[in-house]
Amino acid sequence: MKIRWLSFFIALCIMLGGCSKSNDGGYLISDIDSSNNYLSTLKFYLPNRDIKKSDKAIYQEVEDGNVAVCFDIQAKPAMEQGVGRYWYPHILSTIVLAIDRDQTDIDITGWNDLWDAQVKISTNSNSIIRNMMVIGSISYGLNRKDPSKRDALELLEYLYQDGRFRQNDCDAAILICLDHEAVNFNRNGGDYEIVVPSEGTLSFRMGLLSDEPLTLKQGIDDALLSLGLPLVNGKRPLGFPDDYGSAYALKEYDLGWFFDITKDISRDLRRQVYHQRLYSTADLREHILSAIVTITVILLWKGTVSHRMIQQNLRRVVDVIVWLMVGWLLLRLFKYQLSENEILSRACWYGYYPFQLGLPLALYYLTVILDQKEDKKLPIKIMLLPFISYITSVSLVFTNDLHQLVFKFNPNGNWSDDYSYGPVYWMIIAISIIFLISAIMKMFYKGRKGSYWGGKIFPLLFCIALFAYIIAYACRVPLAWETDLTVFMCIASMLFFEVVLHTGLIPVNIQYQKLFKAAPIGLILLDKDGHTVLTSGDASYVSNSIWKRLLTDMDHPLLKDKDTLLHAVPIHGGMAVWQEDLSALNRIRQDIQDVQLRLKAVNSLLKEEEEVKKRLLIAETNQTLFEHLDRDMESRINALSDLIESIKDEEYSEDMVAYVTLCLCHTKRRCNLFFLAYQGEPLLKDELGIYLDELTELAHYAGLKMLIRCDQNGVLEIKKAALCYDFAFESICQALKDEASPLMGYLMNDGNDLMFRFLPVKSPEEWQYSEELLVTVSMLGGQISYKDLDDAIGICLIVPLGGEPCV
């Protein structure tokens, strides 16, 4: 709200106060040459105005309230524009020919005589306004009816090309000057004949232009006359020619053609008369144009360079170099616009130096960092000295007004162009040159190290070109001498950089796009924000989520999809991502998996088959087993059933029952052994002992007292165990039959044989063993033998231990 009020207030102030104009003028301004007499007179007649050399355009000065000395051709247009309302013409100046009679006695009456006058001809001033007056006068003289500058320029061109005409040379034999100037020369000891050109010439009024009425003390005309100045009313003091018949004072309506003629006079003179080269600029407009064109070229060049390099630090150097050049040119442009403001224009002039001195330093820095790694920090001391010397140089230039060691000014003169160079100037220039030379040396050195041929050739070419320029400059060859030094330095800097580029010291590639397009690994460059910068043809888009994940962890690659693995490495200003195609790998893995699955299926099928087979086998075996068992047990069971049936018939004693039980037990154990035999497992001897004990016990019930000792540890082959068991049973049965109680049995190992001995009370020679048992004994390689002991006969089964004998 406050700001609003303030702005409203300011607007109101401007609205109400805009009408008044501050007026701090009060000077008398002159920038016309040879107006000194006039000025000194005015000093007396305008005592309250100090004389000052103008530092702006006179129109500006008049607007500021000053009084300007000027010609009518300046005053009238100003008054038309509303600048300066009061015009006090005092002096009538005529362009005349002043012929130095000390030098020549040639007879000259007008302009046309100049064609053949074989003497030096000159003007005595090269200010624009004077040029306008001279060209205007000659044009008027050569063609009064229809004046055109072509005639005048042709005359001057002819004279100049003949070596007879130049500007601002007061020693020439013929001077084209103002009449009162010539009179003044004469008064000061010259011997000039003043000729009013017979073909015609122009008179111009000189006077005061002011924005306010002036109070001039009376008598100024007399004073001017006495100083040898011609008055506007035609009065002329002594010393002027008598006949001014051909002089024509410009009227207001003449100004049109006069300005038509004299427009762009500087350029016309330079181009048409002096034949100035097209590559040098002829006037301010061309100056400005050339500066703008140069700036454009520099900026375009910067664009191409930035496009060609990626190295960030070198890009920065290019930026610095470019801005140094552009800044310099812009500052120059700005200075062109300043008309004569001494302090500001001097400040601008000093302002050139930071740029001018900065360029060699930047080039030197460029060569220093050339083969360094991009992120490598340079030791400060390498650039410290150059930088300090740069800063010192610049500060010396800027403080020049205080010490005047760089530029020496004439204390009374004009400080913007009246100067000479001081010792420090040469010093700082020398420093710049040292930078430049060091830069070139470094470029040479570093270029030589490389293997690329350009590394040696291009620096050489650059040096040759530079040298050629310097020679040309020294010899005043126009191409070098007349070109703009600033523009040259800019071009030289650009060339230097280009040379460095072409020596191969800076990795250059303008084919990145193509490279990426052709890259087979699907390469993508992403910038800091994850945007794709460059991409190969076959690379797919990297989505935001993937980019974020890559940013967190670049060490681990990640899957974009099943067949694409992304790898990333950080680079300056982003990351490079490339993709690995996993499709082949995945296919192989898939194949392996398929094979595995198939194998698994086959395996399980096989297993199933095996099991079925096994089951079948077991069933078969069982069947055989039972058949076998049936066969094996049939006789015993038959015998047993006979026995049991016989029990029904006969009333037997309990012995009989015990016997049957014994048989049953035997059958049962025999079945056990049978199965064991099928299982192929050996039988512990202890277990056999238990079986035998069982028989012994049952035999007790049947009335047979017996004892079987089984002293062996270890295992017995099942067949042999079964044989032993059968042998024991049958022996018990025989003993029961014979009532050969008690019976002693002993099972033992006898060397390699197994020996089962029974010692009955009665002779066992009568004992009948079953066919089956005997077959088995012989099968096993054993024998049943009787042993005649002293008082008894024992029966003994001997079966060899070890493997079965071959059948």
């Binding site: 409203f8 009061y86 009425p213 003390k217 008598g219 009313n233 035609g234 009065k235």
Partner: protein, 530 residues
Amino acid sequence: MLKKLKQIQALNALAKKRSVGMQRKLMLYWVSMILVIFAAVIFLLSVTGIFSRDDKQFHEVVEVHLINTKDRLEGHLENLTAQSLNLSKELSREIEETLMQEGISMEDVNDDPELLFRIQEAVYPFVRTTLQTADCNGAYAILNATTNTNLDGSNHSRSGIHLRYSNLSAGQPVTPTVVYFRGIPDIARQKNIELHNRWNLEFDIDQIPGCGELLKTSLNRPAEGYFWSTRIDLKNTWESTMLLCVPIVGSDGTIYGVCGVEIGALYFQFSYPNTEGQFGSAVSVLAPIKDNRLLLSKGLIGNVSGTYLDASEDLLIHQGYYYNEYNASDEQYIGLHQIISISNKEVNDTTWVVAILMPQENYIIYTASIRQTWIIFAMILFLILLAFSFFLARKFVKPIILSLKRFQQGEITEQSIYSGISEVDELAEFLNARARNQRLEQGELPPNIADLFDQFIERKNSLTEAERNILRYYIDGYEIADIPELAFISMSTVRKHNRNIYDKLGVTSRDELMLYIDLLRRCDRIQELI
């Protein structure tokens, strides 16, 4: 690009909808009102011509001119006086010498043509020199003697020499030709000077006012009694001139005659050119003033081109603050004058003034053109400001009236009415809300709501199945965040659907949508939406 444009449009719409406080608006109106009054005052003042009057500047300009001219004129006349006094001294010595040789007095010279010839012969070189050196167009010497006292009018006829330039012109002063206007022709013949075509032998001193009296007085020094005569017509010529009369005083105090220089009206005209300035042509005048009248007929006038100043007229002076008005019979002039003392002893107590005159007409034209510009500009400013105020007022009142109208017609919709003024908006909002609340309390709905609903339901038909599905979730009271979970779709999909739903149903926000749903529910029409 299109997206950006849309954003900007949306922003603009938002800015338009934002109301501005009444205080700020009023502030603006007050300022514009003040400006209008200001412009009106400027307009009135410019009509009266206050701005366009450049009196002060005119005064300054004329004053500078006057001072310049006066300085110049004073210098000029002083110069002439000095030279004339010198002439007088020389002549007095010469005459005295001659008289001494003859041993006679001046009176004895009467009727002695030979002596007169001798005296005039002696006088001639001095007169000639004076003419050549002084900035004048004629020089003369009158001896207090006549050739023949017996003739009629001999008492006012006096012998003497009068030399003048004959070919004065404004341009380049070529070598002037001296002619012999009065005097003994033998001298002219002797000196090889042409006689003036109106040549006379002797002066008629009655023609020169004060001259006769001067001859009769007795003085010690010539400086005691010199004066400028008023402008007189030279006898038998069309020229008129002013003469500087310096007595030739003998050592005994007798007046031997009168000598001096002449400034002709033409010569004065050439010497004092008029000055063209922004106010017109300024004429320099040297003239006596009497009874508040500037006697141009008795004075000299500078170059008059560009004016109609008549040299024979007398101008009546009206004193003014910045400038005086000088009225001629048919023209009016403005300018300034200042008294200048040019003679030592004025005849008839004449007061001489230097004046700078300019035609009033030119000044009026000048001021009129400025005034016209002022009036036009003030008028334009006034009209623009008036139009602006009108526009502002309209803009200020229109929305209020509109709102009022709507209020009166009871046309209050659910959307707020933007009057552009926050206070009014608030009031409207408040009234609206109250009315709405009342109606809602009574279970009443806005009258045109049915149409709205119909349209809304109509629009709903354009929804796709998926969108309808989403809408259903809204109807069921779910938030956006719930929908992905419920519909098994991503948030982006939901948002996309939302946009389509809003577009198709013609709502701008979820709040608006929810309002519709709420209202439809109240009306038991929610089923139609599903």
